[in-house]
Amino acid sequence: MSRYIFRRVLQLIPVILGASAIIFFILSYSNQDPVMMLLAGTDPTLEQIEMTRHQLGLDRPIWIQFFSYMGGLVRGDLGVSYSTGREVFKEYMLRFPATLKLAFWALFVSVLISIPIGIVSAIKQYSWFDNFGMTFAMLGVATPNFWLGLMLIILFSVQLGWLPAGGYGGLKFLILPAITLGTGQAGLATRMTRSSMLEVIRQDYIRTARAKGLSEKVVIIKHALKNALIPIVTVLGVQFGHALGGAMITETIFSWPGVGRLMIDGINKYDRPVVIGCVIMLCIMVSVVNLAVDILYAYLDPRIKAGYSK
């Protein structure tokens, strides 16, 4: 098992280097200039512009810039933000708790919606509840996050005045962003739960469990759901990983001070180290969650566990 984990971590390295290189060159060959962005509104002299460019190291040839950045990266140094002058990693860690909180509660909302609806839809296939559940799932997939967020703000903040329209603080501030992000995720997860359950409940061992005289509840939860969980956990895991990397849109709508906002701000200011840093952390988050999901498989299915130790 530990060998398996080690191998997976090693596989992550080329992905991180490759993704960093792609983002590096996309931002470097842009026709926008981070220096002008930084000095915007100050009416800088030519000397000041050159001075800043030199300080940021942007007057060096692109290949030198690339290898010096990559060199830092290999040593674990994500560089310094152009716009704030602070270390990217520190800046990221400052924002990460907010993102972690949002991602966790969104997952909670998503699980709470998708698993019960998915199970009942599968058991009562083609019933009115199934139709309702699948309509909900279709709408969940089709509704853009930003619109759902704004609709929730119109209803709960503007009309009813129950919840704040944005900001960061206690549970009150968390509800709308978590529902926005979680409902979006629930659409796909509901469909996955339904189709995975449908496959499992047709198996012979479910008939056997029923024939043994087990109660329907035990059959569904213990025998069916447990075996249907792998694809569901996979979908939830990918979504959770991406949310950990920063829910750019949800965080923007609700002025949530997470890494998604850091990323958007970085992109808007052409702050190359910040954007690459965020992308790297995002790749790490997605991979770590995927790895955790793969390890979880081993507990859900002993056959997979046997496969890992090979």
Partner: protein
């Protein structure tokens, strides 16, 4: 004797003809039997019709971009069925032109994805070995960056224009299509008809184009259809974040974003473009699901 030959020939061509008709009509019959797919198809066709006829329905200069301050922030009425926005432009006219932009960008981006994705996927799947390894590693790296983030970065770097949006969304959506085409090509490349093509002296390019790609058409059509929905979502998300298409050009995402300051007094500015996006994506997804079941009944659960 000669009569006999003609008869055989006639039967042969008739058989051929019947088979050809039956295949496409079979797909159509299966598609037609699914109510949700037909609803999706009808709604989507209407949207395309609206987008294509936008130029006849409204006047771009007068109705769509020119401010009309005295009539600002009017709620829905007979004269303005969807109301007016913060500088008095008729929202319905802007929605109609917005359909042209949103759908147009999405279609163009998906065409880009299909061309590039099919080419890379087919080459990778056909040659295998080192070529496949290199292309797939590059593809994996692109795939490891989330779609929206990749599109945002490319759109920011290139600058705001419709062409750049198409390129950004096109590139961001390509990796998953490459995977699908590659998998399909790999599954058919060892079959007898490919061997026959080789035996007849066809070169690699001929085999890829005339034997392998036609076998990938079904998954490409299905994925392409569903990807239009993703592309519409991406276009509007980028515009919403202020990175995509800039006002005054109407696009559903930037219209929606423009209503954010008026959530209290004029919520319809935000509600209506969002409803249009949801309806469009829903119709495409229904149509795509139906198409998948119709083209490949084996996939149906």
């Amino acid at each position: 004797m000669s009569k006999n030959v003609t008869t055989i020939n006639d039967t042969g061509s008739a058989l051929k003809k019947r088979k050809k008709i039956s295949r496409s009509s079979e797909i159509w019959m299966r598609m037609k039997s699914k109510k949700s797919a037909m609803i999706g198809l009808i709604i989507f066709s209407l949207l395309i019709l609206v987008a294509l006829s936008a130029g006849f329905l409204v006047d771009y200069q007068d109705d769509v971009v020119t401010p009309n301050i005295p009539e600002r922030l009017q709620g829905p009425s007979m004269e303005h069925p969807f109301g007016t926005d913060s500088i008095g432009r008729d929202i319905m006219s802007r929605m109609i032109y917005g359909a042209r932009i949103s759908l147009g960008v999405a279609f163009a981006a998906v065409i880009f994805q299909v061309i590039v994705g099919t080419l890379i996927g087919a080459i990778s799947g056909f040659y295998g070995g080192k070529v496949d390894d290199i292309l797939m590693r590059i593809n994996d790296v692109f795939a490891s960056i989330p779609n929206l983030l990749l599109a945002i970065t490319i759109a920011t770097a290139l600058g705001h224009s419709i062409i750049n949006m198409i390129i950004a969304i096109g590139i961001a959506g390509t990796p998953s299509l490459v995977r699908i085409v590659r998998a399909t090509v790999m599954s058919v490349k060892d079959q007898e008809f490919v061997e026959a093509g080789k035996a007849l002296g066809g070169n690699d390019m001929q085999i890829i184009v005339s034997h392998l790609i036609p076998n990938c058409i079904a998954p490409i059509i299905v994925q392409g259809t569903l990807k239009i929905a993703t592309a519409i979502l991406a276009t509007s998300s980028l515009s919403f974040l202020g990175i995509g298409i800039k006002p005054p050009t109407p696009e559903w995402g930037n219209m929606l974003s423009g209503g954010r300051e008026f959530l209290r007094n004029a919520p319809y500015i935000t509600v209506i473009p969002g409803l249009a996006i949801v309806t469009t994506i829903l119709s495409i997804n229904l149509m795509g699901d139906g198409l998948r079941d119709a083209l490949d009944p084996k996939l149906k659960q």
